[in-house]
């Protein structure tokens, strides 16, 4: 698999809903013809979800397609481990995540988190203060946030990125995300919170680079109750 490219996700993937629906319908017909049993039918029914998940992780279309193909190859070869009635989408996401992290194994080993929750709390307050100085509506209204988020997301350490994609893009709760990732719920929570704060900091930096008046300030003036 080649390395991920630099083009933003949104720029490369946003397609009008009508076209997406038409593509989905055509693909569904293609799918019906190709499935021989229930396992294959259920797995293929998740293909759009897996393709979207892979694209969120790998960004470059070619890399994402390779990731999907490898996911399905592994799924087919380990289909005997799939319990009938289990959540096929979650199972495929788990495989996809494992393939993705294995490809990016070096990054996975570089993750370290502070054990002190007050560090994250104060960092969160600091980011909020920086945003208040700019006016958050200015940032979110004027910034091309989809592109900025795609770039910021790509810069995150891979395990952080996967948690954000599962929770914020795919709508998983913390417990379900923990099952997909094979980590404790507390680790999902700490990675998610850290990742969101990093994304916010990068959005602020992006806003500054784009010429918006965002001032970084310490939270010393905030009065705590």
């Amino acid at each position: 698999m080649s390395s991920a490219g630099n083009a933003p996700i949104a720029e490369k993937t946003q397609t009008p809903a009508v076209e997406l629906a038409a593509a989905g319908a055509a693909s569904a017909e293609l799918t019906k013809a190709g499935a021989a049993d229930e396992f294959e039918r259920d797995a293929l029914a998740c293909l759009d979800d897996v393709a979207r998940f892979a694209r969120s992780l790998a960004r470059a279309a070619d890399d994402a397609d390779d990731l999907v193909q490898e996911t399905y190859l592994r799924a087919l070869r380990s289909r005997h481990t799939f319990r009938a009635g289990a959540d096929m989408r979650r199972w495929l996401f788990t495989i996809c995540k494992n393939v993705f992290l294995r490809v990016n194994e070096r990054a996975r080993d570089q993750v370290s988190l502070s054990e002190d929750p007050s560090d994250d709390t104060m960092a969160s307050v600091r980011v909020h203060h920086a945003m208040m100085h700019a006016g958050e509506e200015i940032l979110f209204d004027r910034l091309s946030t989809s592109d900025a988020i795609a770039v910021a997301l790509d810069a995150l350490p891979e395990p952080f990125k996967v948690v954000v994609v599962l929770v914020d893009f795919e709508g998983y709760g913390y417990e379900d995300a923990a099952e997909v990732l094979g980590i404790p719920v507390g680790t999902v929570r700490s990675r998610l919170f850290r990742a969101r704060r990093l994304l916010q900091e990068r959005l602020i930096a992006h806003a500054r680079d784009a010429g918006f008046s965002v001032t970084r300030t310490a939270p010393t003036s905030r009065k705590h109750t």
């Binding site: 993937t13 190859l73 087919l76 919170f193």
Partner: protein
């Protein structure tokens, strides 16, 4: 249990505790007693924590909106179908 009792049982949070719970609150991951406690603090602390809450909520809104709109291309679908056929053949051969 009366509603008065429930209100009395709701823990009182300070700003730091509230900020620590904001993401859980926004992600609907809190038990109801903590939800109530965060609600109460946000109602009382409009200048700081309610503002912080609005910022985090706006951030999550743009995150959700940034989800890639992707369907598998026909090319990819054909690749996967070919893979399935190939693996089916392998299983049969075996």
């Amino acid at each position: 249990m009366t509603s008065d009792t429930t209100l009395q049982d709701t823990p009182s949070l300070d700003c730091e505790q509230t900020v620590r719970l904001l993401w859980d609150y926004l992600d609907r991951q809190l038990p109801s007693i903590d939800l109530d406690a965060v609600d109460r603090h946000l109602h009382q602390c409009k200048a700081n924590c309610a503002s912080h809450f609005e910022f985090e909520r706006a951030f999550l809104d743009v995150m959700h909106a940034a989800r890639p709109q992707v369907v598998a291309s026909d090319t990819l679908r054909l690749r996967v179908l070919a893979l399935i056929a190939s693996e089916r053949g392998t299983a049969t051969d075996a």
